[in-house]
């Protein structure tokens, strides 16, 4: 379901009421919001996808499209695609006749011109009740949770007084009645939810912050930047309750600097930002690597380069995360693929940071970070929390902070620990932490810093691989696009295509063995991601012999990739295999 209107129309608020009611009823749901770049006003839209099974992604073409005015609706283009199966509902005040709606090249299944504004004014005396009318229409036509919607509206407006409450309920019922008086030619009603019991409803940023606190994070340094700011906001509300603190720093550099200081002091620490902020944090990231200090850095990716598209998702900061450094640096990059698994990935980021004494980049993206998703209640007892290796009393008798160990991990002290005194430094240092310009020591320290991370590449639990291991066709995807590929994988499998799917949580370092094994049977496939260059595809080719038939399907951010697009390309790849490719096709792939 997709709806669009002007800023004041409350269309996003309608979406929120709908998804909240659905979550309460036990439906699975997902909602993405999209706005113009204005701070207030301007156009706004949301997509809501409801299901009795888990929702993997925001979906493709719309079943229901709601336009409070056409000008705003059309601004969202490919974000709100209408097809021949769509039911279109719009405010008749636009003066557009149902046969004349401004959708090019498509004839929707059914079109309803509804006097939405007029009904709102009749019920509540104000245009502001338009969203309640819309909710009534949805409940009436599609049978979605009318009781829970009204209950939600009552809760939402409880503080605004009984008059407003009654007015909104009247508006809702007017919508519901309109739908009943004008039934759909082909009735469509949501099946009742299969699972009972209320679900959680949340987004990736809140889940990331909550999971960080669960993992024991006691310090957050931040600087406001879209679309990551809600992480800092959550910390400023909650972290004090657990003995922690937040510093909103003067800039991105100071925010990661303060977080690194907190880690030096022995506390679990985090900072969050987006691409442009990440560029500024690079200097201290290098310091964290050479000083071997645990730190979690969240980058909620948006469209780039530079200011780029601050409110739209893209997966184009992978090169930056992996390679933006002076010197030889290897730092783990983890990517969540949904709101739900943001919790697992965040806990894992802290565990890896603490265990290996390294900065870890958590590469989220605007879609996961800001979309609302239903999540089953979480049993937190299933998590293990790793603490950094502390020196023993014996270690402290002749303590060397950067002692050469077989696994590259040296016990780490912190100020306040008697006998553990050492010099942390950005300058190359010997085992004691004292500065050196010795080439021999430098080489040994570089080797230590790389060696300690080697076991990560064998962590099979950081990969999800589905499908027949011998399948000749393959999909690889990461981040928010992984959910799109999961649906594509299910559809292609249902069509009888022998396909398998690999989704990494650990994006970098490239787990060479795991990919080699995965690609072993593969003759054709796609690496699917939302960027111009196809950055994961190119990084994979640096480390792994990617089969010739596996190509990059990369699309610039803010141009959603839909499951159908992936299935179509996969089919084409399968067909191409049957007839040998021409020289020209091979050149294109390169």
């Amino acid at each position: 379901m997709g709806m669009a209107g002007s800023g004041g129309d409350g269309i996003v608020s309608a979406g929120e009421s709908l998804i909240s009611a659905a979550a309460y009823e036990g439906y699975h749901a997902m909602m993405t919001k999209s706005f113009g770049s204005q701070v207030r006003g301007g156009e706004s839209s949301c997509r809501v996808r409801l299901s009795t099974a888990r929702v993997q992604n925001p979906g493709g073409t719309l079943d229901v499209a709601i336009a409070l005015n056409w000008e705003d609706f059309l601004k969202f283009g490919a974000e709100l695609p209408v097809s021949g199966d769509t039911v279109v509902i719009y405010d008749s005040k636009t003066g557009v006749e149902p046969g004349q709606i401004p959708l090019v090249g498509v004839t929707p299944k059914e079109v309803f011109a509804v006097p939405i504004g007029e009904m709102a004014r009749r019920a509540a005396g104000t245009d502001k009740a338009k969203n309640s009318v819309v909710l009534g229409l949805i409940a009436g036509w599609f049978g979605i949770a009318p009781g829970s919607i009204v209950r939600g509206l009552n809760k939402k407006f409880a503080k605004k007084g009984p008059e407003l409450l009654a007015a909104n309920e009247r508006a809702f019922h007017l919508g519901e009645e309109f739908a009943k008086e004008h039934p759909l030619a082909t009735p469509r009603a949501m099946a009742p939810p299969t699972s009972s019991g209320s679900k959680m409803l949340t987004d990736g940023n809140d889940m990331c912050a909550a999971a960080a606190i669960l993992a024991g994070c006691e310090f957050f340094g931040g600087y406001p930047i879209t679309p990551s700011t809600e992480i800092m906001q959550f910390f400023t509300r909650e972290v004090w309750k657990y003995g922690g603190a937040v510093v909103q720093a003067e800039d991105e550099i100071a925010s990661i600097g303060a977080a690194l200081g907190a880690s030096f002091a022995g506390k679990k620490a985090m900072t969050a930002t987006s691409g442009p902020g990440m560029a500024l944090k690079t200097e201290i990231l290098g310091l964290a690597t050479i000083a071997e200090l645990p730190l979690v850095i969240v980058n909620v990716q948006r469209g780039g380069p530079s200011t780029g598209l601050p409110t739209k998702p893209e997966q184009s900061d992978l090169f930056q995360a992996a390679f933006s450094a002076s010197g030889d640096v290897l730092r783990p990059i983890l990517a969540p693929t949904s709101v739900a698994d943001t919790v697992d990935v965040t806990v894992e980021a802290f565990n890896i940071a603490e265990h290996y004494q390294t900065p870890v980049i958590l590469l989220s993206d605007q879609e996961i970070a800001q979309r609302k998703e239903t999540v089953d209640p979480i049993d937190t007892s299933r998590f293990t929390f790793i603490e950094r290796k502390r020196p023993t009393a014996v270690d402290l008798q002749s303590y060397a902070r950067f002692r050469m160990t077989e696994d590259g991990i040296s016990p780490i002290s912190h100020p306040g620990m008697k006998g553990g005194n050492y010099q942390g430094a950005g300058i190359e240092h010997n085992e004691q932490g004292n500065p050196t310009a010795s080439g021999k020591v430098h080489a040994a320290m570089n080797a230590k810093r790389f060696r300690k991370l080697a076991p990560l590449q064998r962590r099979r639990d950081l990969f999800r691989i589905d499908g027949d291991p011998d399948a000749p066709f393959a999909l690889v995807s990461w981040g928010s696009i992984a959910g799109v590929c999961r649906e594509a994988y299910l559809r292609a499998t249902a069509e009888g295509l022998a396909v398998k799917l690999l989704v990494p949580w650990l994006v970098y370092p490239v787990a060479e063995e795991i990919y080699r094994e995965f690609f072993g049977s593969v003759r054709a496939g796609l690496v699917v991601e939302a960027s111009h260059q196809g950055q994961l595809y190119r990084i994979l080719r640096m480390y792994v012999d990617v089969p010739r038939g596996v190509t990059s399907f990369a699309r610039d951010g803010a141009n959603p990739i839909q499951p159908g697009d992936v299935v179509e390309r996969l089919r084409a790849a399968a067909l191409a295999l049957q007839s040998p490719p021409s020289a020209q096709q091979i050149a294109c792939e390169e």
Partner: protein, 295 residues
Amino acid sequence: MTTTNAPLPTYQAKDYKSELKPIWCPGCGDFGVVQAIYRALAAIGRPPHEIAFVSGIGCSSRIPGYTTAYGFNSVHGRALPIAQGIKVASPELLVLVAGGDGDGFSIGGGHVAHAVRRNTDITYIVMDNQIYGLTKGQLSPTSPKGLHTVTSEYGSLEEAVNPLLYVLAYGANFVAQGTPADMAGLAEVIEAAIRFPGFSFVNVQSPCVTFGEDDQQVKNHRATMQSLAKLGHDPTDRLAAMGLAQKYGKELHTGVFYKNPDPPPTMNALIKERQQVLSEKAPPRSRIFDRFLQT
């Protein structure tokens, strides 16, 4: 061996001195600064492992390594943010920050104002030599206008930053200046700065023997320095302090320019208060996701 009931000092200056040999040129002012720091720390008597000493990059930023404290020789200009993170995370530590004029008032200049207004209980010591020494003699933010250096062949075109006025203008509650020409006085202001509850700033005129100007050497300091106390300055008078600070670069005043007689609560105190109030009715960490349930 005689015994006495009088309390003995637990630590002496030498207990804060590490075995590392400084890289500084013979005669460098920073030798005096590190000696003054040893003395101040001994007077205060905190064990070395309870001290975190953070610096940036530059000759003077090597200083934590010459102490037995926990040190962090970080990156250029970022000592203050790191030190504040340490102090917020572990308020029980004694946190010192040191660096040069380039570190503090050029590349890291943006952090100073915020360290002042954030008011964590840390002490910032700047070794101000009006030149970039480690990179061999370039213009620094406190170099006097017109100075000829390897990056200002025909004389610099910019006015010098006035570090004293800068921190006073942002509302710093403790501002002092010293010189290694007066070791006792320098150790005294550093000790007073550390004891002050809140952000404290000490500008040390620490001569560069290799690239510095002749009139900025210790010998000259000894001849020209004027004690603020002897001048009758009232260190509780911020405006008078700002008046005197305007003489930076022309006259060498030593001692305390300003010390707020009624210091505001530190950020650490405010955080502690907030943590206490909010933790009372907090659900356990394991229930942190409950808030997302649709009820």
